[in-house]
Amino acid sequence: MIQERVGEIVEKYGAEKDGLIMIMQDIQDEYRYLPEEALRYLGERLDIPMTQIYAVATFYKAFSLEPKGEKTICVCTGTACHVRGADRILDRLERELHVKSGGTTLDKKYTLETVRCVGACSLAPIVILDKDTHGRLNQDKAAKLIKK
């Protein structure tokens, strides 16, 4: 099952080594983490040693070896967001969700993350809930995003 899906993704990028990171991103999007079985199969298909795949998986922020929550709430901590109070928002969400940044709530509903700039600096501070970007927040408005 996993092999079949990973096979399709590999084909999408022409089964070339320069597609490795993008293939892994698509696997991450599909499963919300990188399942070991998927990575082992990927290594065989592209003839890349598992050590390199593991190195890539742990080096880049986009990847996770642990399953993530249903939703990802991501606080932008770029410079513009920082000077407009991103830390306060992050603190608040940590308290509301009872997790530290990078953690997933016990009910597996939310994963709380930070990102270093999504390029919407003019509307700082920014929070991204799954794929939706929310601008001009303060800690109260940010907390309301997860109460909906």
């Binding site: 320069d18 880049y60 410079t79 000077v83 306060r88 700039c117 600096c121 509307l123 601008g135």
Partner: protein, 672 residues
């Protein structure tokens, strides 16, 4: 040898000049149709303010009223503060831009326009003529019979935010539909490429032209683009690669995202011209995965360019082949560094290597590789369309052309501004940026991202000792200069202890703590250091530990000297620019704001009220009118007081989250 199998397009006859001209006509009809057209900015910043809902509301209202109107989308017009922005084109009228739209206002606007009316009270500005930068084509909007209320709307180019701007890179952004290649061609796009390829111009002469233009790389370092092209062109080895670096990692900078989302074909055309000059047939663009919209729009643009034969085999029948492959980054700041970026494209961990051999000689897969960033590539078509002399006539002696800055932070008008090099900080921050938010005081502007620094733009006067008691030692430094009148170009910023970087300009006021900013950047770099070389890995960690203790009120008198010593090691011994420049933010804050370090170390105070360990919250009895908002928002329920009577914070329970301060409308919550 690498092949770009997946990217090879279908065989197609090449595009001719006649065809290109026909497409231009088609594109012009799209931009200036014979019907009413509503255009909504739906770049990331637009969407973050709700332009998606505005777009939907306009479509719904048009459908409901069975109107024969066109709805179109566009990229970022720069004035992000005023998003969502909608512009309305009515044949025979000036184009009017409406700011801060909501779904409700948008529906009313559709209704008004359907009755032949306007909403001048919501207007940001109007446009009477459009001139294409590339071919000089002018479109005049008729304005003979406009009512007085429309005549009174200011010209968009006259409002302070736009008056001093000069757009080369962002020439089409916010004007054309970035997903329509026809509209790009309508603005003279791909004609420059046609002129070069059909005349079979000598590639070496193209390199000379770029050298003559004086264009310097816009990614940060400011290396002359023409020189880079020349070295790569002359380097031995085949195939050669050209890369567009769109891994815009500097936090606070988003010009590359806006350019990719607003005018992707400008980058493609620039890359094809560059590849022809250098002698390369394979291109890559490396885009941050945090920019999903940019990735999607660029992929669409590549597909459309292939369909028209503007990428692929035998472009314009010249015998020249070129194609581009898109690579998404994995979320690592260091991948903006050229050697790390190339390692990442190869599917490796993004670790830089020492550059004894330059990438122009041995880069991607050990082949000669020319890398420029988005903004540099977007400058290429205008340089060839209008000539190197034209480009060199703009800007300063050492820095030619324009630069796009993202003016953000504590400034009134946030957005993207493109200005000629050499403009002063004051013009950017005061005239364009509209001054500081909430009438506070300018303190600093941070440029160059984590490799840059904080420049003082203060007008406090020479003996500022805010936050220090009289008992503080006389040696404690104070502000002696302000750089607000500094002309901005590559060299002046470097001399001032910062750098151009990719163009982020984060404005800070008296509520931003400079120790905290130094700490912020080291924290950033600690996470982003790849860990390969010791000076960077350990140096940053140790500098951060010192700043942490200063911020917590445990600083030692010799801490600042130790920071400067560590900074020197980082500069001298790091493998790549990430480590080499990592200390810049701290060094610049020490240079200009040593008084704040001293206040933290000697007085155990954070004058800006940011460092949590050194501050406390209280309520100013004189200002508090007992509205109870603070007590209601306090997550710890530690604010008490009767209605209409001054409230009080229980400091024993206060976690210093700042909710009360954000909620209070009377400025009664005081941080000390």
């Amino acid at each position: 040898m690498r092949s770009l199998k997946a990217a090879t397009p279908k065989i197609r006859l090449f595009m001719t000049l006649d065809e290109l001209k026909k497409i231009k006509e088609k594109g012009l009809k799209r931009i200036y149709p014979d019907k009413v057209k509503f255009t909504i900015g739906t770049a990331t910043c637009g969407l973050a303010t709700g332009s998606g809902g505005v777009l939907q509301a306009i479509k719904t209202e048009i459908e409901k009223r069975k109107l024969d109107f066109i709805v179109s989308e566009t990229g970022c017009i720069g004035y992000c503060q005023k998003e969502p922005i909608v512009d309305v084109f009515v044949p025979g009228y000036p184009r009017i831009y409406y700011a801060e739209m909501t779904p409700e206002k948008a529906a009313q606007l559709v209704e008004a326009v359907s009755k032949g009316e306007h909403k001048p009270e919501w207007a940001l500005g109007k446009v009477l003529t459009d001139t294409s930068l590339i071919d000089g084509t002018i479109y005049n909007y008729s304005h003979d019979k406009v009512p007085l209320e429309v005549a009174k709307i200011p010209l968009l180019s006259d409002i302070p935010f736009y008056r001093k701007q000069f757009k080369i890179v962002l020439r089409n952004s916010g004007i054309i539909d970035p997903e329509s290649i026809d509209e790009y061609i309508a603005k003279g796009g791909y004609f420059t490429l046609y002129n070069i390829l059909s005349a079979k111009r000598d590639p070496a002469s193209l390199v000379e032209e770029v050298k003559k233009s004086g264009l310097r790389g816009r990614g940060g370092g400011g290396f002359p683009v023409g020189k880079k092209w020349e070295t790569c062109r002359n380097a031995e080895g085949n195939p050669k690669y050209v890369i567009c670096n769109a891994d815009e990692g500097d936090p606070g900078a988003y010009m590359d995202r806006a350019a990719l989302e607003g005018d992707p074909h400008a980058v493609i055309e620039g890359m094809v011209i560059g590849a022809y000059a250098i002698g390369s047939n394979h291109g890559y663009i490396y885009v941050r995965h945090e920019y999903p919209q940019a990735v999607r729009k660029f992929n669409k643009a590549i597909k459309d360019a292939r369909k028209y034969g503007l990428l692929g085999k035998n472009i314009f029948g010249s015998g020249f082949d070129f194609d581009i492959r898109v690579n998404r980054g994995g979320g690592a700041f260091v991948c903006g560094e050229s050697t790390a970026l190339m390692a990442s494209i190869e599917g490796q961990v993004g670790e830089p290597r020492a550059k004894y051999v330059h990438t122009v000689e041995s880069g991607l897969w050990d082949k000669p590789t020319n890398l420029n960033n988005v903004e540099s590539w977007a400058n290429i078509p205008p340089i060839f369309a209008k000539g190197a002399d034209w480009f060199a006539s703009i800007g300063t002696e050492g820095s030619k052309g324009t630069k796009v800055f993202s003016v953000v932070g504590k400034v009134k008008n946030t957005g993207l501004v493109e200005v000629p090099m050499g403009i002063t900080l004051r013009e950017i921050l005061d005239d364009i940026g509209g001054g500081i938010m909430e009438n506070r005081r300018f303190k600093a502007v941070q440029t160059g991202g984590p490799s840059g620094g904080c420049l003082i733009v203060d007008t406090f006067g020479p003996k500022h000792r805010e936050g220090l008691s009289d008992a503080a030692p006389e040696s404690v430094s104070f502000v002696t200069e302000s750089l607000i009148d500094l002309p901005v170009d590559f060299d002046t910023l470097t001399d001032a202890g910062s750098m151009m970087g990719s163009g982020g300009m984060i404005v800070m006021d008296d509520r931003s703590c400079m120790v905290d900013i130094g700490r912020y950047f080291l924290n950033f770099l600690k996470d982003e250091s790849c860990g390969k070389c010791t000076p960077c890995r350990e140096g940053i960690r140790n500098m951060l530990a010192i700043l942490d203790r200063i911020a917590e009120g445990n600083g030692h008198p010799d801490d600042v000297d130790t920071l400067v010593d560590l900074a020197q090691v980082l500069q001298d011994a790091s493998l790549c620019a990430l480590g080499g420049s990592a200390a810049n933010p701290v060094l610049s804050t020490i240079r200009y704001f040593k008084n704040e370090y001293d206040a933290h170390i000697y007085e155990k105070k954070c004058p800006a009220g940011v460092c949590k360990a050194l501050i406390s919250f209280s309520i100013d009895k004189a200002k508090c009118n007992g509205c109870t908002v603070c007590a209601r928002v306090c997550p710890e329920k530690c604010i008490s007081g009767d209605k209409k009577k001054p409230h009080k914070i229980d400091l024993g329970k206060c976690i210093k989250c700042g909710s009360c301060e954000e909620a209070c409308k009377f400025g009664a919550v005081v941080i000390q």
